[in-house]
């Protein structure tokens, strides 16, 4: 049972930790040359918000995340459906995918840089490459897990192949597909930041690096915190959307005898 909307003890702990950090830095007990106090980070954050710098950097990152994630989801769902439905395709191509999948996307960064230069394309290619896998694997697994009984039902009701796919198989696999999409959002964000730090001089990732090089630890910390907040916001948004999509799938969690 929830009494308050706010987790008071949890908030208190966070505030105490922040106060402790502030005291350690101000009293000189923590001997880091460039460790800013929370108050300094807060002031830097306010100035970044007011000047509009934060907005323009965040806009780039959010845009590329949305493009990259949408593309990854589309490709992953397409591949997952195709391989999930066709044993023939699985037999011919799954081995190739299993070789590619464990290779860390980050290792391809120099290669992508070589091919696409310092550009949004490089950033997107890396994001999509990294985040396509969870969607693909989950979709394929979800489709393969659809019970044969549902295929019997589709056949005896004389549904067309298209109807079977759209009305039976995809909805039956929807929980797995949505899980894949949520997992890939996290990867998309990570790859966007990494790519912006190294391969595409725009966005929040690039901002962190340029503040580092400008010896502006307060502003650098502020950007790091914004990235964290963006991650939380994207996750929460996606959770809301997925609950909405799966609202009729509550039975998957219900205790049905």
């Amino acid at each position: 049972m929830r009494i308050s909307r706010f987790n008071i003890p949890g908030l208190v702990t966070i505030l105490v930790l922040l106060a402790g950090w502030e005291i350690l830095v101000r009293s000189g007990a923590a001997k880091f040359d460039y460790l800013p106090a929370p108050s300094g980070i807060l002031l830097a954050s306010v100035s970044l918000i007011v000047s509009g710098e934060l907005f323009s950097q965040a806009l780039h990152t959010v845009e590329s995340i949305l493009i990259g994630w949408t593309a990854a989801a589309a490709i992953g769902i397409g591949l997952g459906l195709a391989l999930g439905l066709s044993p023939l395709l699985r037999r011919w191509s799954l081995a190739s995918f299993e070789v590619l999948r464990p290779l860390p996307a980050i290792a391809f960064l120099p290669l992508a840089l070589l091919l696409f230069n310092f550009s949004l394309t490089t950033e997107l290619v890396l994001m999509i490459y990294a985040s396509v896998w969870p969607v693909f694997i989950n979709t394929m697994g979800g489709v393969m897990g659809v019970t044969s009984r549902l295929y019997d039902v589709s056949r005896t009701l004389r549904l067309s192949r298209m109807q079977t796919l759209v009305k039976v198989i995809v909805p039956a696999a929807a929980p797995a597909i949505v899980t894949g999409c949520r997992l890939s959002m996290g990867l998309t964000l990570v790859m966007a930041i990494v790519a912006e730090m190294i391969a595409n001089p725009h966005g929040l990732g690039y901002a962190v690096i340029s503040e580092l090089q400008a010896m502006q630890p307060q502003r650098m910390f502020a950007y790091v915190i914004f990235i964290g907040m963006l991650s939380i916001a994207l996750n929460a948004g996606l959770l809301w959307v997925s609950r909405h999509i799966l609202r009729s799938h509550r039975w998957a969690h219900a205790d049905h005898a």
Partner: protein
């Protein structure tokens, strides 16, 4: 017709006619190929040899007018769809919205579920879920309804109610039924004819015509001497067909 899987024979020279409007029940112990036979008749599995015809046309794939109802209702229903949407599944795209709604409502009314149209299947009891599956088949207004041990997972009281409901549907619609069960009493109570399937590979051991009057009654019919005699005969046939060792 015959059916083999690899080197294993499942059904061996089975010849069977289903007549218009009749209620045909098929009994047999486990492993005698009851489900396989129903899948062949329903066009879900192709025969290895021989031929299956529906109204003179060879069956390759489920024919229009024949619908199969499965035992495992919770897996056969689309749990993410409402009861009404489940019933509508086979009709979507074939009827206009108004006609569809009307057909779904009629099918639900026939199984007594008109008040559950907006529920999700998982909110219903087992018996009610099985009714949804039956309504989904009835909505297609089939000529033949094939049922694979539809009440096998239900408790005795629910089962008796469902049997009477099914008989009422049979009377109202004139649909032919092919009903598989391992319950001899159920086979006699429901059927116009009872086919005894036995052996491995399965074959038809006997076919018994049941002359019991309709409408049938759970108490009066089951106590009548004819019912008891049929039960006895079929029990003996089942035991004989299994080589004196019936396990069901």
């Amino acid at each position: 017709m015959e059916l083999s899987r690899g080197f294993r024979r499942i059904l061996d020279s089975v010849a069977l006619d289903v007549f218009r409007g009749e209620f045909l029940t098929i009994v047999g112990g486990s492993g005698t190929g009851k489900t396989s036979l129903l899948r062949l008749l329903g066009g879900l599995t192709p025969a290895s040899a021989g031929d299956i015809r529906f109204r003179g046309r060879p069956v390759n794939g489920p024919p229009e007018g024949v619908v199969v109802v499965f035992q495992d209702y919770s897996r056969a229903l689309l749990q993410w769809r409402t009861v009404a949407a489940n019933v509508a599944l086979g009709l979507e795209g074939r009827l206009g919205t108004a006609a569809l709604k009307e057909r779904v409502a009629r099918a639900l009314e026939m199984v007594g579920l008109q008040h559950c149209a907006g529920d999700q299947p998982w909110q219903l009891s087992g018996g009610m879920q099985q009714r949804v599956q039956i309504a989904r088949a009835l909505a297609l207004q089939p000529d033949v309804l094939m049922m694979d041990e539809p009440f096998g997972a239900l408790d005795a009281m629910t089962k008796a109610t469902m049997q009477d409901e099914l008989l009422r549907v049979h009377e109202r619609t004139g649909t032919s039924f092919v009903f598989i069960t391992h319950d001899i009493e159920e086979a006699v109570y429901l059927g116009d004819r009872v086919v005894v399937l036995g052996g491995s590979p399965g074959r038809i051991h006997t076919t018994v015509s049941i002359g019991l009057p309709r409408p049938r009654d759970q108490i009066a019919t089951r106590q009548s001497p004819e019912f008891l005699q049929h039960r006895l005969d079929i029990h003996a046939a089942v035991r004989e067909s299994a080589g004196g060792d019936a396990h069901f």
